[in-house]
């Protein structure tokens, strides 16, 4: 009997450790057992246990559900897009989140906390540099924006780590292109821990990268979606115009996944997201190939024309 109890205690403590690593609230059963600790002391109040994570609610129930309450204000969130030409959408989503962080800071009376945007130079040359006027029109306070363009991924990681140890930034955006080997699981774990220790939201913006295991709380896949039309003062829509940006957000890593994804519109003036219904055209848009012409032989050694794997059998080695 006693042996049993010891085993149970071990299992419970292990579970608790795992839950702590995963930032998950303890399941009710476990907690009830822990609360009735035979030793007679209580660890913490129930309330403080549940509100352990600082979050920024985004005002949309579905999105907040996915993010378990809102954007984590301490720790890493990954934002990913699959193609370079979608980089604008992902960058826009990250900018919107950092604008929200700025706004939240301002409401607490902390005006002018800077946003640091670290963009590895490969990423910014491929997808364009952040543009001051555009970001300003987008709702970000560019007076407190600092941009860094490190040459290598290693330098970018170092800058991010340094920034996370300084408690001044209200958000740090780290933009990396692809899935470099120098940003693997252990590095992302390191960044995540730093961000949690520094109490700074870190947005890892992975440009045209694949899904990869990382230590981020959540990974969101961002795709562009057709925008609404511009509203006119009388309530009607201006036909053929392009309104506020719309994103298609798919949660790839979350405890409550929504496989269909959400369509969100960012309103720069109100500085908030609004849920929108997908346009029928967008829903019906078939994933047509980017190359409309019939494919001839794929050029070797160049991106863009590579066939899917498994089409050809490998030739026997010549040597």
């Amino acid at each position: 009997m006693a042996e049993n109890a010891v085993q149970r205690e071990t299992v419970l403590s292990l579970r608790e450790t795992i839950a702590r690593i995963e930032n998950r609230r303890l399941p009710g059963v476990v907690k009830a057992v822990k609360a009735a600790d035979p030793a007679g002391f209580r660890r913490k109040e129930e309330g403080s246990q549940t509100s352990g994570r600082k979050v920024l609610p985004l005002g949309i129930p579905e999105l907040d559900d996915i993010l378990e309450g809102g954007l984590p204000l301490e720790g890493m969130t990954e934002i990913r897009n699959s193609e370079t030409r979608d980089a604008g959408a992902a960058a826009g989503f990250a900018t919107a989140l950092s604008a929200l962080c700025q706004q939240a800071r301002r409401q607490t009376g902390d005006v002018g906390a800077p946003v640091l945007w670290i963009s590895q130079s490969l990423a910014s040359t491929e997808a364009g540099l952040p543009y001051g006027l555009g970001l300003k029109a987008y709702g970000l306070d560019i007076r407190s924006l600092i941009l860094s363009l490190p040459r290598t991924v290693k330098d970018a990681l170092w800058i991010a780590e340094t920034a996370l140890s300084v408690p001044v930034f209200c958000a740090v955006i780290l933009e990396i292109r692809g899935n470099p080997a120098s940003l693997a699981l252990s590095e992302s774990r390191r960044l995540h821990v730093r961000a949690r220790a520094g109490r700074i939201p870190l947005l890892l913006l992975r440009q045209s990268g694949h899904e990869e295991a990382s230590s981020a709380f959540f990974r969101l896949h961002i795709e562009p979606a057709p925008a609404r039309e511009r509203p006119l003062p009388d309530g009607s829509m201006l036909c053929g115009s392009i309104g506020h940006p719309v994103f298609h957000v798919i949660a790839e890593k979350s405890r409550s996944p929504a496989p269909v994804g959400l369509f969100l519109e960012w309103n720069p003036h109100d500085r908030r997201f609004y849920p929108v219904e997908p346009l029928p055209a967008a829903a019906a848009a078939d994933p047509e190939p980017a190359h409309s012409i019939a494919r001839l032989s794929a050029s070797s050694g160049r991106p863009g024309g590579a066939d899917t794997l498994g089409h050809l059998l490998a030739f026997p080695r010549a040597s």
Binding site: T125, G128, Y131, G132, S148, V168, P226, H291
Partner: protein, 475 residues
């Protein structure tokens, strides 16, 4: 091919400067001739000048083979002029360099005695006596002047010291008398030191050389702590710090670290050098260790002493400056940028990024932004990302001046669902010239919902065919 420099043995064998190499080989068949490398000679001389800064901060180069050291006020640190000179010559001898030196009250006299004389330390009143037996070349004169003087029998400096000055000046020009006066110490001769003298510096000489990075940083922090009281007394903080590391074999490493705001705390100064040492890690070869470390402050600024308060609002400026300093110490001055808006309609000029040099700039950006008229800031439609240089695309438009129907960018075809525009932006003739083409910007959305900023340069029916470019990406 001629001989430009000789060593002691070659001089003994009777070679002369300017002699042909073939002739020298005829005189001595197994002579070693090395091709002259002026750049390497210069580098050696500059390295020696750095090394000589262990005696005085004022070191000036003299032509290709000499150094002037202004030791005013430094000699007593090494126990007097004579022992300074002996120390210098002994150390140079051990470095394998044959050197001659003289100390006197004027640069000209030292030059003359070091090359043609034998005395090492000359008192001011001895100038005429020492100078008299030296040849005319000791006065740093042009070769033809020396020859002309020699032809009339004036071969030694002593011949003209007592001679009447007016006829000499009339016949040989004023340079002769100027050089003579400079050598006699009657005329002042300014030396231009290689490097500006730092306003403050602290030095540590070690009996046992150090090699480890941590040792260097520890000593740097100690030196910075020694500088702190003096900086505080002046009410200044350093904007630029320089660490000189004298390696035992005579090589000197000079590492500078800039800051984005005046800095005084020893811990942070050492922290800056920690990043700098990481950055220059490849080039910094400790060899057998460093024997002298010197930390100097070449540039300083007024330092505002701020009192901590209990209001609880965190002071942002200082940790931000610390962060900026660390990043810039490691990755170079051009690694952090601030967006700056300016009054221009051309998109790539309207918002640019400026390197962050000073944390105070964060405030000035605010002022600059408020100086830009409001109608420029609420520019109708601007992308969130802009390409450094617009990328050419192949676009097909339905009507010549209208928006494109489809375009091919980076080898993939985009069909356009909606388009807004055009927004016409004319080139700035005062920058681009009068012939620069106008641009018609369109904001377009393709069928998948991607939003781009395209422009057409020029018009249809104009002198040149219009071209389409991709300039930015919207969210």
């Amino acid at each position: 091919m001629r001989l430009v420099a000789l060593d002691g043995l070659a001089e003994k064998l009777g070679f002369q400067l300017g002699q042909g190499v073939a002739e020298a080989r005829a005189m001595c068949p197994d002579v070693d001739v090395l091709p002259a490398d002026r750049a390497a000679d210069r580098a050696l001389l500059e390295g020696l000048a750095d090394w000589c800064s262990r005696y005085t901060p004022l070191v000036a180069l003299d032509g290709e083979s000499g150094l002037y050291l202004d030791i005013t006020g430094c000699a007593h640190l090494l126990g007097g002029e004579k022992s300074l000179l002996d120390d210098l010559l002994a150390r140079l001898f051990h470095l394998g360099i044959e050197a001659r030196a003289a100390i006197s009250s004027s640069a000209g006299l030292s030059w003359a005695v070091a090359r043609f004389g034998s005395q090492s330390v000359i008192a001011p009143e001895e100038a005429a006596r020492v100078l008299a037996p030296l040849p005319m070349a000791a006065l740093r004169l042009a070769t033809d002047t020396i020859e002309t003087l020699g032809r009339v029998g004036l071969k030694q400096v002593g011949d003209i010291i007592e001679a009447p000055r007016a006829p000499l000046a009339r016949r040989f020009g004023s340079t002769l008398l100027l050089r003579l006066d400079q050598a006699m110490g009657l005329e002042d001769e300014p030396l231009s030191p290689r490097l500006a003298v730092a306003s403050l510096s602290a030095e540590r000489r070690l009996s046992e050389p150090v090699q480890g990075e941590d040792d260097i940083l520890g000593l740097t922090q100690e030196l910075a702590a020694r500088l702190k009281p003096e900086l505080e007394k002046r009410g200044e903080g350093g904007r630029l710090f320089e660490l000189l590391l004298f390696r035992v074999d005579g090589r000197v490493f000079r590492i500078t670290a800039g800051t984005s705001s005046p800095l005084i705390e020893p811990g942070r100064i050492a922290g800056l050098f920690r990043e700098r040492l990481q950055a220059v890690h490849e080039d910094l070869d400790a060899g057998f260790g460093f024997e002298i470390l010197r930390l100097s402050v070449p540039k300083s600024e007024k330092y505002e002493v701020m009192q901590e308060d209990f209001s609880g609002t965190p002071d942002r400026q200082r940790p931000l400056a610390a962060f900026a300093d660390r990043v810039m110490a490691r990755l170079g001055a051009e690694s952090l940028f601030l967006p700056v808006l300016s009054q221009s309609h051309v998109p790539e000029r309207a918002a640019v990024f400026q390197p962050l040099a000073d944390v105070e700039m964060l405030k000035t950006v605010e002022e600059a932004a408020s100086a830009v008229p409001a109608n420029l800031l609420v520019a109708s439609v601007r992308p969130q990302r802009l390409f450094q240089s617009p990328e050419p695309v192949e676009a097909v438009a339905e009507v010549p001046e209208g928006p494109p129907r489809s375009f091919r960018w980076r080898r993939s075809l985009h069909r356009i669902a909606r388009a807004e525009g055009p927004e016409r932006i004319a080139a700035e003739w005062w920058v681009d010239g009068e012939k620069a083409a106008e641009r018609d910007y369109f904001r377009v959305e393709d069928e998948r919902g991607r939003r781009f900023w395209l422009f057409r340069e020029g018009h249809y029916g104009g002198p040149t065919q219009p071209r389409w470019f991709m300039h930015g990406v919207f969210a």
